[in-house]
């Protein structure tokens, strides 16, 4: 114990006597450990969040988009931009073609609206969602109070709305919103229901929205030349999913009048394929973090070895004294390795500290439930330990193999 304290004290002495070099070396350990831990924890937390969403959506749902939802590495923008819109007409024909025993819903949205109730108003950041009665069966939104949209609401283009929790908090702080009138772009809507709060996903609140009948939305909040409907199809079970996807592709191609040699001018994505795309994104992030961390640690390792070599040289005489009074080789080796490990552990701990700090901050900003796993703290500490061990071995052996007579003569 006392020997350990002595070693730690000497590690600090080494740092003190080589301030600048030690600073940069510790910095690279901090960066390395930080990058590795942060990448690890971030990926863990994104994965948990995304997986949670997918589990909630159900794996039997698929989407038809005009353009892909996530594009990694740019993608062919020109190709996507030329694709025709999925408008009300396309959606209606698609729905007819798929028949009534398959759950199909259309959804269009537009962000940045102000919602008012009497004198209270939201910020101009509310998302309007236009959809139909099937939406509540295919999405993971649930009605809390009141009722959902009905077929009649859509057919008769009724002035009704279902509002999310963020909107309720802003404009109905004390009242029950059901039956009240809200105004969007000066159009009045009667609130028929409220949504169950869902919290944030990757920094985006999922409760800052108003759901309107699709027909209302398309008429008043989108013009025909840019209304872009996402079609959501829910298969009754996993077995019929691929069959339904084939059928959906066929229907869309007929509607779009595509020749057999032409490729699809729409995207089909399942929840699983979305998750996979996300997975490859987080995978990329984690490799990037891990790799850059590793490079930083490699540099740190070289730096630490250097510091320790200089320390050994500076303390040649002391090593000579220790040997002269009977220190065995293995004592000197372990002493210098411990000293190196102390050095790297200091850097590692600071790195972990910043990792936790940044992780917490990101958690607050991005609203991901940041999972700072003990696992990654332990991994980071182990990395620091191994780093100390590896970079300490050579200087330690050099110290231990000093000839006592030579060492005592060293000026």
């Amino acid at each position: 114990m006392e020997r350990l304290l002595d070693t730690i004290r000497q590690a600090f002495d080494s740092i003190r006597s080589q301030k600048l070099r030690a600073f940069f070396t510790l910095l690279s350990i901090v960066i390395g450990v930080f990058a590795i831990m942060f990448a690890g924890s971030l990926v863990t937390s994104i994965d948990t969040t995304v997986q949670g969403q997918i589990d909630a959506l159900g794996e039997n749902t698929f989407f038809i988009f005009r353009i892909p939802n996530i594009m990694l590495g740019g993608g062919d923008w020109h190709k996507y931009a030329r694709r025709p819109l999925i408008n009300q007409k396309v959606y209606n024909s698609f729905r007819d073609k798929m028949g009534s025993n398959v759950l199909v819903t259309g959804m269009a949205k537009s962000a940045g609206y102000v919602v008012k109730h009497n004198i209270l108003a939201t910020d101009p950041d509310v998302t309007l969602v236009g959809t139909d009665e099937n939406y509540f069966l295919t999405s993971n939104y649930d009605v809390q109070d009141g009722r959902a949209l009905t077929k009649t609401d859509i057919e008769y283009k009724k002035d009704v709305a279902i509002i999310g929790n963020d909107v309720i908090v802003k404009i109905f702080p004390r009242e029950n919103p059901i039956g009240k009138t809200i105004k969007i772009n000066n159009r009045p809507y009667t609130v028929i229901g409220t949504l169950k709060p869902k919290g944030a996903l990757l920094g985006q609140s999922q409760d800052n929205l108003v759901i309107l009948p699709l027909s209302q939305f398309l008429t008043y909040f989108a013009s025909d030349w840019w209304s872009d409907i996402t079609i959501i199809v829910r298969a009754p079970d996993k077995i019929s999913l691929s069959y339904l996807i084939d059928e959906a592709v066929g229907s869309m191609r007929i509607i779009r009048n595509l020749e057999p040699w032409e490729e699809n001018d729409f995207e089909i994505e399942t929840n699983q394929s979305l998750a996979d795309q996300f997975g490859s994104l987080t995978g990329f992030l984690s490799y990037f973090g891990f790799f850059s961390g590793l490079i930083a640690l490699l540099a740190a390792g070289v730096g630490i070895t250097n510091i320790m070599l200089i320390t050994v040289k500076e303390r040649t005489r002391e090593i000579g004294i220790r040997k002269a009074v009977g220190a065995k080789k293995r004592w000197i080796v372990s002493h210098f390795i411990f000293e190196t490990i102390t050095l790297t552990m200091i850097g590692g701990s600071v790195g972990i500290f910043f990792g936790i700090l940044a992780g917490g901050l990101l958690g607050i900003l991005a609203g991901t439930s940041f999972v700072l796993s003990i696992k990654w703290i332990i991994i980071s500490l182990s990395i620091s330990l191994v780093l100390g061990l590896i970079s300490g071995v050579f200087p330690a052996y050099r110290a231990a193999s000093l000839d006592p007579v030579e060492a005592l003569r060293y000026e």
Partner: protein, 235 residues
């Protein structure tokens, strides 16, 4: 030769290889030292005194020749065994003190006990006793830079004594001290010798050598004289 000799060396040679030339620091030196002898090794600068002492103290190994310490052959020992000898059976006092500047007196003196595996409480207790025995009872928490040369050499002597070694080597222990302080240090050695220790003293000063009971003179790595001092100081 006496089989009960504490030290017995036979044709010890030490050669330093300096590239093209070879420097013979010691040439086939043969001698014995008995228990409780007080021996001074004398000779001009470069005659091989320090080299001989380093070999006798198991700090260095000879190029050729045999060395028996208490009838054990040192040449066949490994690093750990040599460290053990330096730790338990030998105490060194150097001309330049060789103390650790950032550690206080107690820490300096207890160092050999750390490597001997003595528990901390006992170490401190013994270090305090050793410091008191060299007259430094009131300087125990001072660090070497805060001490005078004579005081530093006392700390070094306390460290050399701490593990009750049978052999004490002192290489020019008064070389960096004024005459009066040197005399005080020599008195300490005298008392150690009186108490039964074996002392081997390296010096090139006649005045210092006169404290010893036996004097060996070296020149160019050879023993040129080996005699009993008929009228030592402090009889």
């Amino acid at each position: 030769m006496d089989n009960n000799a504490l030290i017995k060396i036979d044709k010890i040679t030490k050669v330093y290889n300096m590239g093209m030339t070879e420097v013979y620091a010691l040439r086939e030196i043969t001698m014995d030292v008995k228990r409780n002898e007080y021996l001074a090794i004398m000779g001009p600068s470069g005659s091989g005194k320090t080299t001989l002492m380093s070999i006798l103290g198991c700090l260095d190994s000879p190029t050729s020749g045999q060395y028996f310490l208490e009838n054990e052959e040192v040449g066949s020992m490994n690093d750990n065994q040599l460290a053990e000898i330096r730790n338990k059976r030998v105490g060194f006092v150097f001309q330049t003190f060789n103390l650790m500047p950032r550690a206080n007196c107690i820490k300096n003196v207890e160092l050999p006990l750390i490597y001997a595996g003595v528990p901390q409480e006992e170490r401190i207790e013994r270090a305090i006793k050793a410091l008191e025995s060299v007259g430094l009872g009131d300087r125990m928490h001072h660090k070497p830079p805060e001490l005078s040369g004579g005081q530093r050499q006392r700390v070094a002597i306390a460290r050399a004594l701490i593990n009750n070694p049978s052999l004490i080597f002192a290489d020019e222990p008064t070389g960096n001290l004024d005459t009066k302080t040197g005399e005080e240090i020599m008195h300490l050695f005298y008392e150690l010798w009186k108490n039964g220790n074996t002392i081997i003293l390296v010096t090139h000063e006649e005045d210092i050598a006169r404290h010893a009971r036996r004097i060996i003179k070296l020149r160019d790595g050879l023993i040129i004289d080996d005699y009993i001092n008929q009228n030592p100081i402090y009889a």
